[in-house]
């Protein structure tokens, strides 16, 4: 019975963390689907959100959730600038070049964080982190509940924007065929920039949601980029259900592994599973071509 309890407990935690992972990796798939850019620096924005929340809590003495107020303008501005300064000049280059540029950005951001915040692994403990919400014997922390629910809401908002608004239609048009979209009077780079900013902003918000139950250190950015890559491979491009399933896969693998093995194994299992999936179904479980 103890076994069953451990597993159901891990599953519950995994589900809510997984939903948050779906949110933080959303932008990565979005960017890849629309402009065919593997933005390896995507995870850096998650890390940025986490550090913002950490500083809001430590230095301003406020609830880390208030960091969302700063995260939105900062992440959008930095994201827009990164797109304009790095990916616009590189558009039309081979995908490998863009991949390497993303790697350069990731290295830059990681070490900027190292310079500013040091190498220590820091956690934020607030009441919500320890407050347990339980059904029968199975419980999760309130912070995890908040993160999971807020992530589902955010994903719904982004999906609404992409599939139900005029802007979203432009985004999808650009994703299908940038030149044709341009012919129709769509300002491709502006649409791309907005989509890019939207993507990294959701990542930063996800970072804020994660901090009450996830410790932060500079290398975590690359770890999240890797997670995003895994989600992209598992889900394929342009599918919200795929995104959620892939996120849950990550969250549950991680929490189940953590119950039995050193945490490093989670990544091993995920990557091996992904490589196997790549071999069986290269287009992803729900794969389509674009958004």
């Amino acid at each position: 019975m103890l076994e069953l309890k451990i597993i159901s407990q891990a599953l519950a935690v995994g589900v809510f963390i997984g939903l948050t992972y779906a949110l933080v990796t959303l932008g990565f798939s979005l960017t890849f689907g629309i402009m065919r850019v593997i933005n390896f620096a995507h995870g850096a924005f998650v890390m940025g959100g986490m550090y913002l929340a950490l500083k809001t809590f430590q230095d301003l003495g406020m609830s880390p959730y208030f960091a969302v107020i700063f995260a939105i303008p900062i992440a959008s501005a930095v994201g827009g600038a990164v797109y304009r300064l790095v990916f616009v000049p590189a558009s039309g280059r081979p995908l490998e070049t863009q991949f390497i540029l993303g790697l350069g950005l990731a290295i830059f951001f990681e070490n900027a964080a190292l310079y500013l915040f040091g190498a220590d692994i820091v956690a934020v403990n607030i009441d919500l982190s320890t407050h347990r919400v339980a059904v029968a014997d199975v419980g999760i922390s309130a912070a995890q509940l908040i993160a999971g629910c807020a992530s589902v809401f955010m994903i719904a908002v982004v999906a609404f924007v992409i599939y139900r608004t005029a802007f979203g239609r432009q985004v999808r048009a650009v994703a299908q065929d940038p030149q044709a979209a341009q012919m129709c009077g769509i300002k491709v780079h502006r649409v791309n920039m907005a989509a890019f900013a939207l993507g990294v902003t959701t990542a930063a918000i996800g970072g804020v949601l994660l901090i009450p139950f996830t410790a932060v250190s500079p290398p975590i950015g690359l770890a999240f980029s890797l997670k995003a890559f895994i989600v992209l491979v598992v889900a394929g491009v342009g599918t919200v259900p795929g995104l959620l399933v892939a996120g849950l896969f990550l969250g549950i693998t991680e929490s189940l592994t953590a119950a039995y093995l050193p945490s490093a194994w989670a990544q091993v299992f995920e990557l091996v599973a992904v490589v196997l999936l790549l071999i069986v179904r290269p287009q992803g479980l729900f794969g389509r071509e674009t958004w």
Partner: protein
Amino acid sequence: MIDKSQAPNSRAKWPGYLARKWQIGVAIFALVALPVVPYVNDPYWVTLISATLMAAYLNIVWNWAGGFAGLLSLGHAAFFGIGGYTAAVLLHQYDVNPWLGMVAGATVATVSGAAVALAAFRFKVRGFYFALLTFTAALVLPAMVKTSSFLGATEGIFLPLKDDVTQLQMFDRRFFFWTYYIMILVALVVTVAIDRSSLGRQLRAVKGDEDAAESLGVPAARLRVIIMSLSAGFTGLAGTVYTFQTLLAHTETTFDTGRFFLVIISTMIGGLGTVAGPLIGAFFLTGVRELIDKVPVSSQKAAAVSMMVYGLLLIGVGIMFPRGIVGMVEGVGGFIGSLPGRGRKHTATVSAAQYRSPIVAESAGIGFGRTKDDTPELVVTGLTKRFGGLLAVDDVSFKLYKGEIVVLIGPNGAGKSTILEICSGFLKPDAGVVTFKGKKISGQPPHKVNRMGIGRTFQKTRPFENLTILENVLVAAGLRSANTTEATAKAMECLRLVGLVPQPGPEALGSYLSTGQRKRLEIARVLATDAGILLVDEPFGGLDERSQGPLIDLLRYLRHTGCGIVLVEHKLSVVEAVADRVIALDSGRVIQEGTPQEVLQNREVIEAYLGGAGELVKPAPNRH
């Protein structure tokens, strides 16, 4: 062979051979200058340069896979670690001499590289996915090592300190300097050999366009496995030496993925896929690091700052100089070369319409090349191909004789291109067989089909844009010639035949050609494969009226020489001009086969094309 007076018509750029020559010069200069270092009596410098040499070595061998072959491996840390651990375990557990351990480490790493590459190509894992696959290897292996007490678990394996050359270590710091120096020497020689051999050209072709390379008979998968195992083996070798330098095999240092991020960064900065770039990049990065270390901050902050600078450098170089420092120097060299009075003429391209190939005169009045007693060369029987629910090709059978042009016509979606894809090995049929001279070719991979004597061109032209016109053709010619001289002669002959020589000339880059020139380059390439049968997909698409004449002449000439040609074409004037037989397709089925006149006046064919009304061709007087 190469007419060197022909200036490239393209953007000012050094021709390939000159560019590589100065790079070799840089490498030789570095190798001559470096031995001074051990005699500078400053251990700091000896250590620093030794470390830089190892980094340069790793760059050079990573570049074989990452640069020449376009295999962006993030997993070389695994090969490095495999090498190091193999040697360490052999010494620690079995008391095997480190020099033997070094050979063993390199061997195991080579095999691992081959295994990764084979797995990747067996399952078509490419591009970023290849990067992810290899990165997985680099993360999974140390995690597994940590669980094994035999491999030292989390503590690592400590090696005994000895001052003994036979134990691959000495107290004298210069020992490792010289070890790395010799390793670099070997690696550079191999690099130059790869770069100058047809292997290098084929690798660049595969990197540029794998399908096109395979269509010319290049065994892409095998080449990538070869280069990957070579690169992995040399990396493993460095792993063993490093392990004996540090006297420790540990998951955090021996399997350090960060080291290989630096490899990628500095190789990019120096020049990805170049000869001297990786070497230059490593020393450049050390220089930057030394400058930053002069800034008075804590060592951790200095490390962070230098990595930030590396990141920015990588971005800057990536955007502005895709070929890194080497590309930058070439740009300057090309600019100087293009200055007035330097004797480098930039003549305008003769337009496609003005070109007259040498075969025009010969081809006038050439008719059927086919003789009655021939047996069919290409036999297509009951070919069927489905895409999901769509029946793209439905029980198609036809024969092609030597010296005959068969044209496939039919509305879009009739299955014409699919038939060519199957005959050239790019698609496997669901049913039916294609044989060539009695041997089955359907189901064989494209490069084998080509080796058997069937060449194809692509509807949307696919030149290797990073290669010159001559190199494009050499990819094909080099596979069938004993030596470079012979291959070059053959390539030039093919280029002359299609009219790409004398203008725009053999040194123009594939990416700067016009539509008509690209089409002719594809034909030159496929001619160089010695194919007895050509599958040509809409070569006239996008050509203006005046450019069509020479191409018609060329097709007739090839027929005259005994080539069998399957042509997919929509332009009816062309069909009438070259076809010996026409096969009309609709919805994947053959609806009519016969002479051009018979087929083009057939009711069913007209209906398929025009929906019933009008006529495709006027009943004309006999044209032969």
